[in-house]
């Protein structure tokens, strides 16, 4: 059984034991120090989480880059920290099939997130050491929150309850802006409430166990519940949740550091942004929704967990890497069992590489077109590279080999114009419209002609043995 963390604190303890968390005890300024440390840590190989214990003018602590390296990602899964990316992908795939694992609803008394309650003179700055992440951001952003909302037409339908990550700008002591893009689940729920001019209750959980945060940023179907996936990814161990106080139909992670409760103000849009976004550029100001906070519950001495995002790669790229790849793989696999792996790690799947063993000419291209019409692939996937089953799509040297030796551009490159795109992709024009590109880098299969078939090189017999011999010699030399 893999190691499972009940809350953020347990995970931080493990990260520290494994040398994957550092503490900064000296007093720092909120700007630019916390953002800068998040940038620095996520640029490092084996980048650690960074915990700030003393922030000028604030009570609490901030932790950043918790998910920001493959080592931290592996530890989140309860695996050895040096597990290669493809093995982590395969383990996630296997655990995904345990869905659904119903969560465990605990009583209010058992839920650490209810230790303290604030209902009057709400001031977010008293609870959270808020800071500007990037210089041109229009304010202080909460970049790693799990937002819980329900379907106003089916409040008791647990499956249609949504847990998602949306960018949040602090607008006032007790009011925040939220970005609900039309393609996001919360926008569907909001539209139903706004048609009736009713507020949409929401709960915002900050500082969660690592797989809750991971699932909140995973694209799953509208009627699939994220908590049931958390249990699956925790290798079958149910996650603990508890009803929100102001909207008991909303269930929040019991171990959250902080829970903000409130509602989206109906039919109001207010200036929000700019915000440095995951494609590595700022997205400008827009008129967006606002949430009135009416209640805060929090653990004693809460830790504010937030992430840095900027020029890729940063923490958000690690957080959205395999949880974008696995659902796309599952959706593709249903119609194309020949698919071996999906790497959708580039800018949230805007660039995606698929390995497949094509059965007939045009088969790989057909699978690419399926990818482009999956719920996530439709807006996000723009550049799709299809490679043979023996190519590891997580190994970019191998992918480049396939591109350079398997692609005859006039027949293997296809463009589909006037297609759905991701508005935050600055090349989409108008925002949200794009051209899709499919590159079929698989070896031709009949009836497609393959006029120059080749014999692939194989590793000489004894390669594995010599790998061990050479490793041993290096180790011996180091020990001398």
């Amino acid at each position: 059984m893999a190691k499972v963390y009940k809350d953020l604190r347990e995970f931080l303890t493990t990260l520290e034991e494994q040398g994957q968390l550092v503490r900064i005890k000296d007093e720092v300024n909120p700007e630019p120090d916390i953002g800068a440390a998040g940038r620095a840590a996520s640029s490092m190989p084996n980048g650690p989480a960074v915990l700030f214990e003393n922030i000028k003018g604030y009570k609490g602590s901030v932790v950043t880059n918790v998910h920001g390296s493959w080592q931290n990602h592996a530890l989140m899964m309860g695996m050895d920290k040096d597990t290669p990316t493809k093995e982590q992908f395969e383990e996630l795939n296997a655990r995904w099939d345990k869905y659904p694992v119903p969560p465990n609803v605990v009583s209010r008394e058992e839920a650490p997130c209810k230790e303290n309650v604030i209902t009057e003179d709400i001031n977010l700055f008293e609870v959270l050491p808020l800071y500007r992440i990037n210089e041109q951001d229009g304010g202080f952003f909460i970049s790693k929150a799990s937002v819980i909302s329900g379907d106003p037409e089916a409040l008791d339908d647990f499956g249609r309850q949504n847990v998602g990550t949306y960018r949040i700008q602090v607008k006032d002591k007790d009011r925040i802006g939220i970005q609900a893009l039309p393609m996001h689940d919360i926008a569907v729920q909001l539209a139903k409430a706004e048609r009736k001019n009713e507020p949409l209750p929401v709960a915002i959980a900050l500082g969660n166990s690592p797989l809750v945060t991971f699932m909140a940023s995973t694209p799953v179907g509208y009627s699939q519940n994220e908590y049931e996936f958390v249990g699956a990814l925790q290798d079958g161990v149910a996650t603990d949740i508890v009803p929100a106080d102001t909207a008991p139909h909303l269930l929040v992670p019991a171990g959250a550091e902080v829970v903000l409760e409130g509602y989206i103000i109906p039919r109001v849009r207010v200036c929000e942004g700019p915000f440095g976004e995951f494609p590595g550029s700022y997205s400008g100001s827009r008129l967006q929704c606002e949430i009135q906070i009416t209640r805060i519950t929090h653990r004693t001495d809460p830790i504010f967990e937030n992430l840095y995002l900027g020029m890729p790669w940063t923490e958000i790229d690690y957080l959205m890497a395999l949880n974008t790849s696995v659902p796309l793989y599952k959706q593709l696999k249903e119609g194309f069992p020949e698919v071996k792996a999906v790497n959708a790690m580039y800018t949230h799947g805007i660039g995606t590489i698929v390995s497949i063993k094509p059965r007939y000419g045009g088969h790989a291209k057909g699978a690419a077109m399926r990818l482009l019409s999956t719920p996530h692939g439709m807006p996000y996937a723009k550049i799709v590279i299809m490679v043979d089953d023996f190519v590891d799509p997580f190994n970019l040297e191998q992918v480049m080999w396939a591109l350079t030796t398997r692609v005859l551009p006039h027949k293997d490159v296809t463009m589909i114009e006037n297609a759905a795109g991701m508005p935050l992709d600055p090349s989409s024009y108008p925002a949200g419209m794009t051209t899709k590109l499919i590159i079929d880098a698989t070896t031709p299969v009949a009836p497609e002609p393959n006029p120059r078939p080749v014999e692939l090189l194989k590793d000489p017999v004894g390669t594995a043995k010599y790998t061990e011999i050479i490793k041993g010699l290096i180790q011996a030399a180091e020990e001398e």
Binding site: K56, G57, N123, F125, Q169, K173, P182, R286
Partner: protein
């Protein structure tokens, strides 16, 4: 006090530092830009706003018709 982004004078103190009296956060009630007294905000020309520009900004998500 002028907003560094839209030059409006409709600004106020949003909050004072919870510990000590070491900073304040200000907010503009026209464009909702906010900044800390310890910062020296330089808003790039492309991100500057005016009341006219604000009314022309994209609406996300669109507001649906009432039932």
């Amino acid at each position: 006090m002028k907003c560094p982004r839209c030059d409006s004078e409709q600004t106020r103190t949003m909050v004072k530092s919870p510990v000590g009296d070491v900073w304040e956060v200000y907010v503009c009630e026209v464009c909702w830009y906010s900044w800390r007294s310890t910062e020296t905000p330089v808003v790039l020309e492309k991100f500057k706003l005016t009341p006219e520009k604000i009314t022309e900004l994209g609406v996300i998500p669109p507001i649906p018709p009432l039932d």
